[in-house]
Symmetry: C2
Subunit: 526 residues, 2 copies
């Protein structure tokens, strides 16, 4: 790792004009790692954004197949990051090597999936309405539409997925696939990881002949504001806290030219336990649920933070079993010291509320997060108490016991927008509680049956999004191939000479696209 | 027109709880028309939003074919609005009967086009990734995605299209097609028109068995704020001024739950005149362009407000011809007195600027708008002067003469986002100036060649949108079938029992959709 420079990535070069030095920390011991990073100056942030802007025109005009080569090359470079790289990520995040190896594969797989989307071509949204010169009362002129990248995208990576939601993560992959150069703000929690991944992207860009400035990365605290306010930036991707996401949305809305922010923020991911399932397999559910709550030290966006069911002897038995399970979970090291502080504060807020009872978990102390179980009065949801709505990031969950179905319904209606909702039920349960589905559809981006939300498949059908405050725009997803839509906008060409049209819209259909032609889908030439 | 009640439309009934009475005016004479409208109270706005919310669940679960029946029925009712209706619209707007008859056909045609979209079904965006239980290292669970309506939509109609962009206009059609009930804020400039169209929609809703509350309409000034801030409203469609659109965006962003606003606002629609075209047909262009500038008294969103070319003898000759053409244009009555005041002010601002020269048009006075031609120094665009960027709503345009191609490029780069840009050129021109296209693609939603922007076809390929300030979200369009996308969001179903899945996602494919199944498009059953 002698190549770990710690300089900003600007237009294919490294830049270190600033005087503020940053250290990466070992997440387990808190000691400084032997790498130094140079905080970007305002001039460097400007240069990074200008580099992305300068690259945009060439990059977006590359054929989808050429951009796919670039994404595949990034995937290869990421797969080639070896054991020494995994060791660095583990030191910066306290995540185990097996998890990081898995995440590396997920990250390269994500790039390859977007390469496939590029080769399939439907993301272009090609539509053609041919001229109807003889139409009465007025003729129709030839009109053709496809989608282009919105422009340079600023991406803020997540702390909790140092690879899959970070430097070469989902937002970066979606933006590059859309033809948008990226300026990435490295997360302060894993700067050495970011540096290595940034180098991998640059190697891929060089190997596949991409324009300088297609990918840029800056280090530092507080530099994000310059980035979001820069006139070259046309959209923002963010994964993090509600307060962080709200702040970025406000900045973006107050620009002379407002831009969209796709922020994935806060979700408590309710799990609804249905009666037959509790009666027949309550103990198994308790075990599986506890495992989901503590997975990755509870630091998943889709961590099940709220468990709700209707009062019954089986529910009471389940509660006892969940109490046992949660009490038996080992403490774990969190991603960083700030995360542990927030977790501790979150637990204190819960404990201090008269409507909340502590059910399991040793008193929080020391350098690791201790798993905790709480029970809250259903009244908190019915009355819209803020406490339950805020995600406590860490290995804890809150159980709610509704008196009957009507109260269950009212409690779920009291929830704000979520990434996911889960139904645990037998076949009869699911039929009897079918009325829950329309309610949940309006609250969440993904509804799971008999699973746990802490696995997010990267595929075409995934939605990792949902109504506010889960995200800032329920119409997007930040995982899966639909994520590319966030960074595309339609452009229409009227009465255009064939030779000047983009390839996607030419009569000969050189890209072999399925196009909406005169109201019918067709992959034929015209 | 004895049925013209003037009461608010709430949940299929009429309501007049307020004490403030509003009058509709004859746009030509300024005299009050014999219809009285009752301003909605805050309670009535709440009731209208609650009615939309209550209708949402039933309405969105209707099959696309059932919603298509509703839209077709609205189209039939609109077509049946007869000569007495046209006469009212003409009195309220000062637009000629021929134009209103044409707009009536455009409005019903728009409804029928969205009915076709519903029957085609691709708007549902169905995607299926089947389970891969044997995948290594981890199995894949079954995941299915489609799109649902976002919820009740608030629509603010435009003054300048009393039918096609108003009560039953494009935003209403797109929202209803998406399964979103509508609360429409009637425009104060054509309340009698709105009342008649509102009745037509309600008749169609009753004939096709739609839930009460699927369409609601409120009258009044200042009631829009209650509407946008109402918790039941999930998105806003707006066509109007930049200041009005910005104000709605701000309100929507500051809600406890922020919601998206799709505002179509300000555009000056540059027309670029290329040298060969000027040399061979400058006089024809001058004539056509003048006709486009004064069409509908210059009150189109796509009115060509800026004409730009490179200095040459042909350009000078063209300028003289345009001057003659514009001087010969007759004054026209604007949509309302406020419009005339704004136009007069806009002209005064132009005349007062030292960089702007008045070239043609009689001094503005009286009750009609007099067509005007100005020339502005190219420096205004190069220096980003605000004056040229603001749309002057009315029959006027501004000519800019660039010294050379480099200055033409720099001037166009100085423009903000636009709905359209137009190139007038011979074949050789278009090849020589191909470098303009990438620049214009980043500025506008629609690029026209050898046409004029003041005709907006309603079809699949149309984009009536563009970067800010043309609209608040460049990723949308408010004309054409893509407009439905603004009011849809994706929902994902994980590991769902077949019988509980929405029809669009069932294995048997009962809707006969083209779906993205395991990464390939298919209309087969699974």
């Amino acid at each position: 790792m002698s190549t770990l420079l710690g300089h900003n990535f600007i237009a294919g070069h490294r830049s270190a004009q600033g005087s503020k030095h940053l250290q990466s920390l070992d997440a387990t011991t808190g000691e400084a790692l032997p790498y130094t990073f140079i905080q970007a100056t305002e001039g460097e942030v400007d240069a990074a954004c200008r580099a992305a802007e300068a690259a945009f025109d060439e990059f977006r005009h590359l054929s989808p197949a050429r951009r796919a080569e670039f994404l595949d090359a990034i995937a290869d470079e990421i797969d080639a990051l070896g054991d020494d790289f995994v060791a660095i990520v583990c030191r910066e995040t306290a995540l185990p090597a097996g998890r990081i190896q898995g995440e590396r594969g997920r990250t390269s797989g994500q790039m390859r999936l977007f390469a496939k989307v590029l080769r399939r071509g439907d993301f272009l949204g090609a539509r053609i309405d041919q001229a109807l010169p003889d139409r009465k009362p007025l003729p129709r002129v030839d009109l053709r539409q496809y989608r282009v990248g919105v422009g340079p995208v600023a991406v803020f990576g997540a702390s909790n997925f140092p690879l899959a939601f970070s430097t070469a993560g989902g937002d970066t992959a979606a933006a590059l696939a859309a033809g948008c150069p990226v300026v990435f703000k490295a997360h302060s929690g894993h700067m050495a990881t970011a540096d290595q991944v940034g180098c991998a992207i640059i190697r891929a860009a060089e190997k596949t002949g991409m324009p300088n400035g297609v990918f840029n990365m800056i280090y530092g605290g507080g530099v994000g504001e310059w980035l979001v306010k820069h006139p070259a930036i046309q959209a923002v991707g963010f994964t993090g806290s509600l307060s962080g996401g709200n702040a970025l949305c406000k900045m973006a809305a107050e620009r002379p030219q407002p831009i969209p922010v796709f922020a994935e923020m806060s979700s408590i991911n309710p799990v609804v336990l249905l009666p037959q399932a509790l009666a027949t397999r309550g103990e198994t559910v308790a075990k599986e649920l506890a495992a989901s709550v503590v997975m990755g030290c509870g630091q998943f966006c889709t961590n099940p933070g709220l468990v709700i069911g209707v009062s019954s002897p089986a529910f009471t038995a389940f509660l006892g079993q969940l109490q046992e399970q949660m009490a038996a979970q080992a403490p774990q090291t969190m991603l960083n010291a700030g995360g542990l502080r927030s977790y501790t504060q979150g637990l204190e807020h819960l404990a201090a509320h008269p409507g909340v009872t502590h059910l399991a978990g040793e008193a929080q102390s020391g350098s690791q997060a201790r798993p905790q179980l709480f029970k809250a009065d259903v009244a908190l949801l019915l009355q819209g108490d803020e406490l339950l709505q805020e995600e406590v990031f860490g290995p804890t969950t809150i159980v709610i016991e509704a008196q009957d179905d009507a109260q269950l319904k009212a409690a779920l209606q009291g929830l704000r927008g979520q990434l996911t909702a889960t139904l645990i039920g037998e076949t009869d349960d699911l039929v009897a509680y079918q009325w829950l589905v329309p309610l949940l559809e309006q609250k969440v981006g993904r509804i799971l049956v008999n699973g746990y939300p802490t696995g997010v498949e990267v595929c075409d059908a995934m939605v990792h999004g949902g109504p506010y405050p889960a995200t800032s725009d329920a119409r997007g997803t930040s995982v899966g191939t639909l994520a590319i839509d966030r960074f595309l906008r339609p452009v229409c060409y009227q009465n255009y000479p064939e030779a000047l049209l983009p390839e996607a819209l030419r009569n000969s259909n050189p890209l072999g696209l399925k196009r909406l032609v005169n109201g019918e889908w067709s992959d034929a030439a015209l």
